[in-house]
């Protein structure tokens, strides 16, 4: 029977359809309709399914709010995928507040970023390929968040990993991009190893438990395992209780770029900027937070796992924040900021405030997508130069970008009433408040320490974001007009280039939204020649980007302004929208999907005085951070930024972590493996076992082959001998 919940399949299948259409017909459409019109059609083919999916998602969400709070888990099953006696894995999607929140983020922000990408990639040669990957990514991401069992989640998990790999290496002609893609893929494998082991462990424990009877062979489905986790897991002892969540968390660490598996995310910035915004900021990297929230029951059973999550989160947050100071690449700053914010989310999960983590996922999706897209606009306007030290005073050239980025900046810094403030303050407040509960439950680290780290991180976030914003938009110096040598050695080669005939500034955007065929072709050629590294010349005139690019910026800016307020049910929105709850997330979103085992009400209890002090201190941290940086930059770019030296240099190099990892695993590990390969693989395995046995077998073949003499009479003789042997054996055997 079809119910309204089955519409969720439409949401799931729309991006698949978009992917197929794009993959099968994209190139043909461009060939048929010409480069400009064809691209418009392809772009529409990419954007429309996602937007449509968003609309249907909103509809399903609305239907879900009409149900009573305890009814808000609906499952829509399509068919049985794996059907064994001991394991059934159907293709089933789960409609509940948590999954729908993610769906709306993925499709909503996703649609905006798709739209942006139609402008950003307008001159790329492989236009359909880009959108093929992008739609495929959305499809897998939806599978990840909608799947009602770990198997489907895993398909989505690996699928988004694949798409991430494909998109990071999208400009694969550049070996650095290909290497970055590989790095992302390989580092993610480490996380996936944990995730897969976690799935196996869950299956093994639940399969061998007596608690599950009857139809419930769906041993990987959330609606079966989550309610039973409390009963089943403790019977296997504390080690298993701790191992399941920690293994799952290792998976989450890989995908959500937590220390020490964060290494891939900064490199992932090699992909096109819309990809960074969509995959490496707004959606895919939050999959780890989603997974932890989805499986929160497993975590809640084990205080140790919670401690690990909280500590890793807090440490990642502050670590990445320090690294962000040393970056000169605008996208790298945002990348480390993402890592840091993800740390916040895990901190929230670790102290048991899962809803706060999801809240931050949502607001972060708004403002981080905004910041990334804004940075993309800047990069386009600055002829694909990403070094902030060559920006400056861009506000008068890029008014819209500047305005929207300003909002993103304030939002992430945590100034009320913008989105970032609400979620970040929620996390910090809950961390502080849970101190009593967790110290009682055996935590060695007082959450108050984690709170302090979080607060310092908030301060630092405000600082480095201010630095980025200032270097880019404010100040008076237009630094790309200065001599290139004065800025940095690595850009000295720019001088060698004479004025590039296809420099970006020459193009007039007379068509507004769209380009003409000739323009597309010309720019495509120009970009191809420059291999996506147009040359920023001193006489460059930055230009505001096309509407298809700034419209998403405006939309996201609006969301960044009101998102936090609306979603936390702040006045007057709660009255206006007639929601049955004050705080959309706290009251029924993430947690209602499976009842929490923690005494949420009492463990997060704090009196009003404390709450106001906490709020005050986070606001203060934000303002202080902005102030300090503004003061430092008031006279233009500081010396420590011109030449990255001293502490900034160390921080910029991730405190040497990346280098150490590289030395240990790639250099040393590589040499070790080489040696092992030479000695064991080539010598023993290949030489003795493989080639040896092959040689033996082959020799037998050659030997037997000799019997095939080619003479009919010898063939007949062989047959005759065969007859004699068989008959003698039979007669002897039967006459005994």
């Amino acid at each position: 029977m079809t119910t309204v919940w089955d519409y969720i399949w439409i949401v799931q299948l729309l991006p698949v359809a978009g992917f197929l259409a794009q993959a099968l017909f994209g190139q043909r459409i461009i060939a048929m309709f010409g480069p400009a019109m064809g691209r418009r059609i392809c772009g529409a083919m990419a954007v429309v399914p996602i937007a449509l999916a968003f609309v249907i998602g909103v509809f399903v969400f609305y239907k879900l709010t009409e149900l009573a709070p305890d009814q808000r888990v609906q499952i829509s099953t399509w068919f049985n995928w794996i059907d064994l006696q001991t394991l059934r894995v159907p293709f089933e999607l789960r409609v509940d507040p948590l999954s729908l929140t993610m769906v709306l983020i993925v499709t909503g922000v996703g649609a905006l970023i798709h739209l942006y990408a139609t402008g950003y990639m307008a001159t790329d040669r492989d236009y359909p390929r880009f959108f093929t990957y992008l739609n495929l990514f959305i499809a897998f991401m939806l599978m990840l968040v909608l799947g009602n069992n770990l198997a489907l989640v895993f398909i989505g998990w690996e699928g988004v990993g694949l798409c991430s790999y494909l998109l990071i290496g999208y400009w694969y002609h550049d070996i650095a991009n290909a290497k970055a893609a590989n790095k992302a893929f390989i580092v993610n494998r480490i996380g996936d190893w944990g995730f897969v082991l976690g799935i196996f462990l869950i299956y093994v424990t639940f399969a061998s438990s007596q608690a599950i009877v009857g139809d419930e062979a769906r041993l990987l489905s959330f609606d079966v395992i989550l309610p039973l986790a409390e009963k089943v897991l403790p019977t296997f002892g504390p080690a298993v209780v701790a191992a399941v969540p920690i293994l799952l968390f290792i998976g989450a660490m890989g995908k959500s770029a937590q220390f020490p598996l964060y290494l891939w995310l900064p490199d992932a910035m090699a992909g096109p900027t819309p990809v960074s915004a969509l995959i490496h900021a707004a959606t895919m990297v939050t999959a780890g937070v989603y997974l932890v929230t989805r499986c929160h029951v497993f975590f809640e059973l084990s205080p140790i796992a919670m401690l690990v999550v909280a500590c890793v989160g807090a440490f990642t947050a502050i670590f990445a924040a320090t690294v962000a100071f040393g970056q000169t690449d605008i996208k790298k700053v945002l990348a480390y900021s993402t890592v840091s914010q993800l740390g916040y989310m895990f901190l929230a999960c670790g102290v048991g405030a899962f809803y706060a983590g999801m809240f931050h996922v949502t607001t972060h999706a708004f403002f981080k997508a905004l910041l990334f897209l804004g940075s993309g606009a800047v990069i386009v306007a600055m002829a694909h130069e990403q070094d902030m030290r060559r920006y400056g005073a861009l506000r008068k050239y890029l008014p819209i970008t500047h305005g929207t980025m300003l909002i993103g900046w304030i939002a992430i810094a945590g100034i009320p009433p913008l989105a970032g403030f609400f979620s970040k303050d929620d996390i910090l407040g809950k961390t502080f408040a849970s101190s009593h509960y967790w110290t009682e439950h055996g935590w060695l680290v007082d959450p108050k320490i984690l709170y302090a780290i979080g607060l310092i991180t908030a301060f630092m976030t405000a600082m480095y974001m201010t630095r980025m914003f200032w270097l880019t938009f404010l100040g008076k110096e237009e630094r790309w007009r200065e001599s290139a040598a004065g800025v940095s050695d690595e850009h000295a080669h720019h001088e060698a280039h004479v004025h590039h005939p296809h420099a970006h500034a020459e193009h007039e955007d007379t068509h507004g939204f769209f380009l003409s065929d000739d323009e597309v072709l010309e720019r495509e050629r120009a970009e191809h020649e420059a291999e996506h590294h147009d040359v920023l010349t001193p006489d460059h005139q930055p230009k505001e980007v096309v509407p298809s690019m700034w419209l998403p910026l405006v939309a996201l800016a609006a969301l960044s302004i009101v998102g936090g307020l609306v979603l936390s049910g702040g006045y007057p929105f709660s009255e206006l929208l007639h929601w049955d709850t004050q705080h959309l997330f706290r009251d029924w979103n993430a947690i209602a999907a499976a009842p929490t085992l923690l005494p949420a009400a009492e463990m997060f209890h704090a009196d009003h005085m404390t709450e106001w002090i906490l709020i005050g201190s986070s606001v203060l941290a934000a303002i202080l951070g902005i102030g300090v940086m503004a003061f430092q930059h008031r006279l233009g770019i500081p010396k420590s930024d011109r030449e990255i030296t001293g502490l900034k240099r160390i921080m910029g190099a991730q405190w040497g972590f990346d280098g150490a990892m590289y030395k240990t695993f790639v250099d040393f590990g590589g040499r070790f493996s080489q040696g092992f390969y030479r000695w064991f693989d080539k010598g023993v395995i290949d030489g003795l076992f493989v080639n040896g046995s092959a040689w033996t077998v082959q020799s037998f073949g050659k030997l037997f082959r000799k019997a095939q003499t080619g003479y009919v009479r010898s063939y007949a003789l062989t047959m005759l001998l065969g007859v004699v042997v068989i008959l003698s054996y039979v007669i002897w055997k039967t006459n005994r």
């Binding site: 082959q698 037997f704 047959m719 001998l721 007859v723 008959l727 039979v730 039967t734």
Partner: protein, 519 residues
């Protein structure tokens, strides 16, 4: 007469329909051959295709008709121990095998014409001979009387002797024909002598006689010795036709020398027919003594191993496939042995479905492979060494791609029917406690991958300066033949469940493919 209880012979012309269809098509093709315009066989090919389609349709029309034996003496009312001695049996196994032979013949006809033209063998007689050979195979598969079986076998063989020597200007073809003929006749004489001895021991050439004698168990040792000798000699006849070691010696030489399209038909059709008949033979002989299972298991083991080992040392693609077909005969024999053992031993009875399925898959993968190999026939010449296939992928991408599918199936790589077939054989062998045979099958499968890969490698090798015209152009017939074979192999894997249901040869109550990984 009255005292014997002989009933008037039941005459079931409808059941004979497919057989008559194929024979008549052959006759019509022969007549057309006399009328045809010079060197143009298109009309004959058309008639053959239509005739075969009609015959296939007639098989399907018989599908759900009540089976049973006809065209013979029916003693079942007078003497239950003997039963119906009809010469023709209309049962599901026979229908499946008939359909299979018709299909194989159809595919052969499809790709033959292009090859024959390229090879400058414009003989219209080719088609009637193929059809009559197929008819002989159909007779073999649908009789339980050894004498009729012998007639079918000879019809099949004599046509093939001629076909093997069709390229009469070519030394290799002549040599193949002579070897095949002499050794075939030699094996036939063993078979015939065996039939005579069985006849002597039981009083009839019908298999029911053996069943009856096994049931009534007369005390005479002499009778049994004669019977066993007879059965042994008949098995030798089978062993020759399906190429079991040590009766396989003709195979590589004949496969190498005979025209490729003939080899394709020979490898697929003959094996199918002979194994089907063997299955019927096994059905009765296992009740006489357990020694047959031992003998056949040993033959299977030796055949698989020797076939694969020698294949490794080959440099000629057709020879490799010849040894591969020997090895496959060993695999199928494992299934036959498991079937026989399950019937006579304390095991759950197995169906004939594994053998039928593997025969179907084997038939089409081998036929497809030879169809692609026939592309080297060009301007009256043909090379079949591995070097001769260099660059095939470049010049004929679609057949080459299909060739990879065929090789994957022969090697037993998943997503192809060959894999599922081997898996089922493996499982059948385990279910009758023949672990050693199952393991040997596994080891042999692994070995076999090596030489299949070598052919694939040759097909995909690009040799600088290869002349494209070395290969014949791909015509619609070959294209269709490859596509059909590959489709059947993959469909056989993907839609195995409905296929088994439709064949209806599984043991009652047994789920054939349930519990397979990934299903």
């Amino acid at each position: 007469m009255g005292s014997s209880g002989l009933h008037p012979a039941a005459i079931d012309w409808m059941a004979l329909g497919p057989l008559i269809g194929v024979c008549l098509t052959g006759v019509v093709a022969m007549v057309l051959e006399m009328w045809r315009p010079r060197m143009n066989n298109n009309g004959i090919v058309g008639v053959c295709i239509v005739g075969l389609l009609v015959s296939g349709f007639l098989v399907i029309a018989n599908w759900n008709r009540p089976g049973g034996e006809s065209f013979g003496a029916d003693y079942s009312e007078a003497n239950g121990a003997v039963g119906n001695l009809g010469l023709f049996i209309n049962d599901r196994l026979g229908q499946v095998i008939q359909l299979l032979i018709v299909g194989i013949t159809l595919v052969t006809v499809l790709f033959s014409e292009g090859y024959l033209r390229e090879k400058r063998l414009p003989f219209g007689e080719y088609y009637p001979l193929v059809l009559w050979s197929a008819a002989g195979g159909m007779v073999m598969a649908t009789t339980r009387d050894l004498l009729i079986f012998f007639l079918g076998l000879e019809t099949l063989s004599i046509a093939l002797y001629v076909l093997a020597g069709l390229s009469s200007k070519e030394r290799r073809s002549q040599e193949a024909a002579l070897k095949y003929f002499l050794l075939g006749a030699f094996a036939s004489s063993f078979l015939l002598y065996g039939i005579a001895l069985i006849y002597g021991a039981t009083g009839t050439t019908h298999l029911s006689g053996i069943a009856a004698i096994a049931n009534t168990q007369p005390e005479s040792i002499a009778t049994f010795s004669v019977l066993y000798a007879g059965i042994g000699l008949v098995l030798v006849g089978f062993a020759f036709k399906v190429a079991l070691v040590p009766f396989h010696m003709w195979t590589p030489d004949v496969y190498q020398g005979a025209p490729t399209s003939v080899v394709g038909f020979m490898a697929a059709g003959v094996k199918v027919a002979a194994f089907a008949a063997m299955l019927r033979f096994i059905d009765v002989i296992v009740f006489t003594s357990s020694v047959w299972i031992t003998v056949l298991a040993a033959l299977a083991a030796v055949t698989m191993t020797i076939g694969n080992l020698i294949a490794l040392a080959q440099k000629d693609a057709k020879r490799i496939l010849a040894y591969s077909s020997i090895a496959h005969a060993g695999y199928i024999l494992v299934a036959v042995v498991a079937y026989g053992a399950s019937k006579s031993g304390p095991y759950e009875p197995l169906g004939q479905s594994t053998v039928a399925y593997y025969l179907a898959m084997y038939g089409f993968m081998t036929l497809g492979a030879f169809a692609v190999l026939s592309l080297t026939g060009r301007d009256g010449k043909e090379g079949s060494t591995l070097e001769d296939y260099y660059g095939l992928y470049r010049s004929a991408p679609f057949p080459a791609a299909m060739f990879i599918v065929f090789m994957a199936s022969l090697a037993g790589i998943p997503l192809t029917g060959g894999f599922l077939g081997k898996f089922l054989i493996f499982r059948d062998a385990l279910s009758v406690d023949m672990l050693w045979l199952a393991l040997l099958l596994g080891v042999n499968s692994v070995i076999s991958v090596a030489y299949y890969l070598r052919i694939v490698q040759a097909v995909c090798t690009e040799e600088p300066g290869v002349v494209r015209s070395r290969f014949a152009p791909v015509n619609a017939g070959l294209f269709t033949a490859c596509a059909v074979c590959a489709f059947l192999l993959i469909a056989g894997f993907v839609a195995a469940d409905p296929l088994f249901d439709w064949m209806g040869l599984s043991a009652p109550g047994a789920s054939v493919v349930a519990g397979l990984p990934g299903r």
